[in-house]
Symmetry: C2
Subunit: 641 residues, 2 copies
Amino acid sequence: MGDLIGVALSGTLYYVPEEEFSRILSLPIDNIKKARLFASLCRINTLYMIARAGSGHIGSSFSSMEIMSWLQLNEVSTGHGNVFFSSKGHDAPGYYNTMIGSGKLSFDLIHELRQLGGLPGHPDIKTPGIVTNTGSLGMGISKAKGIIFSNRHFKKSSWVFVLTGDGELQEGQFWESLLSAVNDKLHELIVIIDHNKLQSDTLVSKVSDLGNLNAKLEAFGFSVFRCNGNDLEQLTSCISQSKMIMDKPKVIIADTIKGKGVSFMEHTAIDSDVELYKFHSGAPTEDIYKRAIQELINSTNSLLQAENFELLLLENVSRPAISQPDNKPKLLVQAYSNALLHQARFNSEIVALDADLVLDTGLLPFKKEFPERFIECGIAEQDMVSRAGTIALNNLLPVVHSFSCFLTTRPIEQIYNNSTEHSKIIYVGSLAGLVPAGPGHSHQSIHDVSFMSSIFNITCIEPVSERQVEEALQWAVNSENRHSSYIRLTSVPVEHNEVINDISLPIFGEGNIIQEGSNGIIFVTSPLLTVEVLKATAILLKHNLRFTVVVMPWLNSLSIEWIKPLIQNFKDVFVVENHDYANSFGTFLIYQLAKHGLAGERNFYHKAVSGIPACGKVDEVFAFHKLNGESIAEDIKSKYD
Amino acid sequence: MGDLIGVALSGTLYYVPEEEFSRILSLPIDNIKKARLFASLCRINTLYMIARAGSGHIGSSFSSMEIMSWLQLNEVSTGHGNVFFSSKGHDAPGYYNTMIGSGKLSFDLIHELRQLGGLPGHPDIKTPGIVTNTGSLGMGISKAKGIIFSNRHFKKSSWVFVLTGDGELQEGQFWESLLSAVNDKLHELIVIIDHNKLQSDTLVSKVSDLGNLNAKLEAFGFSVFRCNGNDLEQLTSCISQSKMIMDKPKVIIADTIKGKGVSFMEHTAIDSDVELYKFHSGAPTEDIYKRAIQELINSTNSLLQAENFELLLLENVSRPAISQPDNKPKLLVQAYSNALLHQARFNSEIVALDADLVLDTGLLPFKKEFPERFIECGIAEQDMVSRAGTIALNNLLPVVHSFSCFLTTRPIEQIYNNSTEHSKIIYVGSLAGLVPAGPGHSHQSIHDVSFMSSIFNITCIEPVSERQVEEALQWAVNSENRHSSYIRLTSVPVEHNEVINDISLPIFGEGNIIQEGSNGIIFVTSPLLTVEVLKATAILLKHNLRFTVVVMPWLNSLSIEWIKPLIQNFKDVFVVENHDYANSFGTFLIYQLAKHGLAGERNFYHKAVSGIPACGKVDEVFAFHKLNGESIAEDIKSKYD
């Protein structure tokens, strides 16, 4: 589910305007031909949307485009209250375009993917027509069952279509959700599996093979259909047949092609490198975009020509530049990747576990060098964490990886269970904090410190420099240390900044004093917010206000002996962090100070994230949550006016 | 997984002494006969252990006794490093007795079930021979895979036997864990399902039917065997056959009888009320014990007589009295049960969801009166919470139930997902806090406030009286209130206490001042600890120390206007709570006071749970964690010495 973020792009982008959708939808052709044409148009606009946004998921938007187009045009537009949603959620660009193309969403939104106030990277009910929030995998059928319960309660008889991924089927909740669907004879439920054979990293069969999927689903008591999901004749025939079954829920295994519609994006293409499939997520480069759009236009026009209709009219705009950090941005995940490799060369106990994010968590070099110490668990975080538990009990040192948002939530009971065994495990969560904010709240990890610091014996560390990443891992691995650790990693490139560039990890429970000033003291966590705080103090300096700035990588450990003399000079104490207010580093710090008699008459100001994190670009989301340099400066200055 | 706790019992208890185990194990009979006799002896001692402890799980200890006996005597004693553990964990009394009987654990431990420092209610690796901590369902195969990975890494070739329940198969993690076991060809893995057909509440088929289990497991690629699991010939034949399969993991579906060995406890008995099977958990009454022990002794002697061996020699002791609260204890779960019924009669939107704990969460009356608004989800908390999410989006008000330890952890990502939809859901967690401590740390919920208060828009409430329970639910249901709620319920009977007997819910963010004194102010959460604090202040009064005591039912909401004048009279502020220190009510309160400039020169003392919660009786565990009246008094007094 990772994204290539911050890549500067240029060139011309093309999209199908609203009028062309109206023309196509009113052509005198049958519904199948119409859906096929409609899907072609939606592919063009999906490619546009993602290229413009700078990130998004092309591969599965394209694989499911025929399915989505058919359902949108023929199943959920009938006024019968039928419902359709995607459980996997990352196919949102495709879904949005079928909604926009069929007039259910304002057309202008095609320019607003992953923008603040626009269309979020994963579906959210704030967008009209979105049925439920998705983006974390495996919840779809459970959600569908809730809808069907309500429909039955209110005596509504409607179909509920749920689209799932195939990698998604590795999540336990998927299978957990099947039993009662069968026991309750939920015939209203039609699950469609977009079986495009590829998940985030590579082939599903290489990550965690699903085996005989038909047999599994039949054994669970579903009525199972299978078809080519990019072939509308086959697909619609399956849907029709499935509706005839009145005593069971149904599932259609739709064999699709990831990247369908652009020859070189199709995973089945002869020269396609499915081992490292490139079009799961991320925006196309200028060159890729040109080749892809040309193909999509040609194939659409061929369909039109075949029926003697006029060729497509397109609009074009310049591709907006995507802002990115100044030169030499620091990639902490890259530093982590190197550091893990280094540790593993000296410590044969280290075993790395991954949940289908080998690229995003920096594990590829480890996997290549130590295949026998690498475990690919698939999208199965609970399984991964429990496996790590017994590996730790058997004289090895498991290092467990995923995005923070998933690692610290889905398997939290398993993490607690491990902690009761007093074994040592290192949890590493990337994509931590408010940004990247393009994927939306399912991927924005702003509660991870709350969860991990609640568990006995886990030390939480958020490194701010490449060197701190190395030293944090070194500290966590060190055999003298019997604690488990949680390393919180920023995935967004960190602007080069000389002050924190080569900063080292302070003594346990202490911080790095990176700037001195007498007006107040600012404790900050997160590399990105450290940069913002330094911007803020630069602004404040112009108003003759000088602040001491302390970076705090130890999120739930504090040395009272160290902090006592430090804060005694200050009346105003600020905490700035890349996390929700509740149960955060700031709560911990202020609580500790008060408990140790160090609150005194001091003023405490805590700046953190409040409410649901906004979706959008890095800068605009920091600004929205008032965590950018300007806002921080303004807030602090207001205390001195 | 609930327990009948605090029932005073008397009478004589019998157990098989160590010498008799030695005699039986040295008899000149074949291994199958020996295991059968051994199982008979272990049943006697399991019944003894549970009767003496006052709680424990008879039903599944008995159903799996032949399986456990065989494995203990023949598979894990061979010095080949074979491993056996129970994933369900609540069959621990049976498991302990097979270990004790075979000499792997000190014999004296038969008297120490669920005692502080003795044998915990669910397995913990502190007990020699216990492989991993279990007690929360569905983790077993994942853990086995971790063991097999380590074995392969260290070039060990050993069998790993995992016993699971059948209700346990409703957990998604079970299915999640199967894929890689097959893909990695883990032939070392032999899963045995104790298929006794009954889970905590009633028949598995009535809670959430597993359907065709053979077909499901075969479809997942396991080699599947099936036998009568109480018949040692059949069982051992299956084990032998399964060992021949060298390219797949194996599963043996062992059809067993819950309560096997005591006719009237067997779920298949003609007069057995399986709808409300009585012997899942809890200690037998004196009468039941007498009838059961007589049968077990007779059947054991029949086996011995058939081979012309001497009859069994038994030891006997008086059954220790189980302490219980003084007269008229308050059962808050009962009050909740009534309150929910009352609300549901006036509000047709209320839908109750349960995860196989209909008795323990007080839902039985609701289920009877409103069957169409009751959803039994089975042991499938993630599924339950996601279903509740879309029910809430569709004009109904879901009230979601489980034990706090499970409800606030296993589905926390689903709870977060629901919160991002701003819908209103009421989560009700019973068995909250440190006690009952007999089941052990898997069931002791001391992090639930951390987790739930971390999620946006959830108001956490811990009522201390029956009236507060009613009013808390009323507040949560009230249509003017758009917040979601988490109601934290104590399941242990609360000692009758006039001060809090009929206390009502204070205004949002405020507390109940139940006692006044000038030496300091004590903020307390939890009904049980309120009683302990009142005991403490009574002791302190003898030392001429007088304290104001404030009960705080709102765990993450605080009215600053209310508290400001209140605490201004006090220099010493105490917080006492039934929860871990981290991210607790106490952290929240002290942080809020400091942030609002109310810390000043005050001293803050926070008493909460530190580290892994201890297993034992209510009184001894409160004392162990220094949260009983005497310890609280001593601690407070020490500040004034």
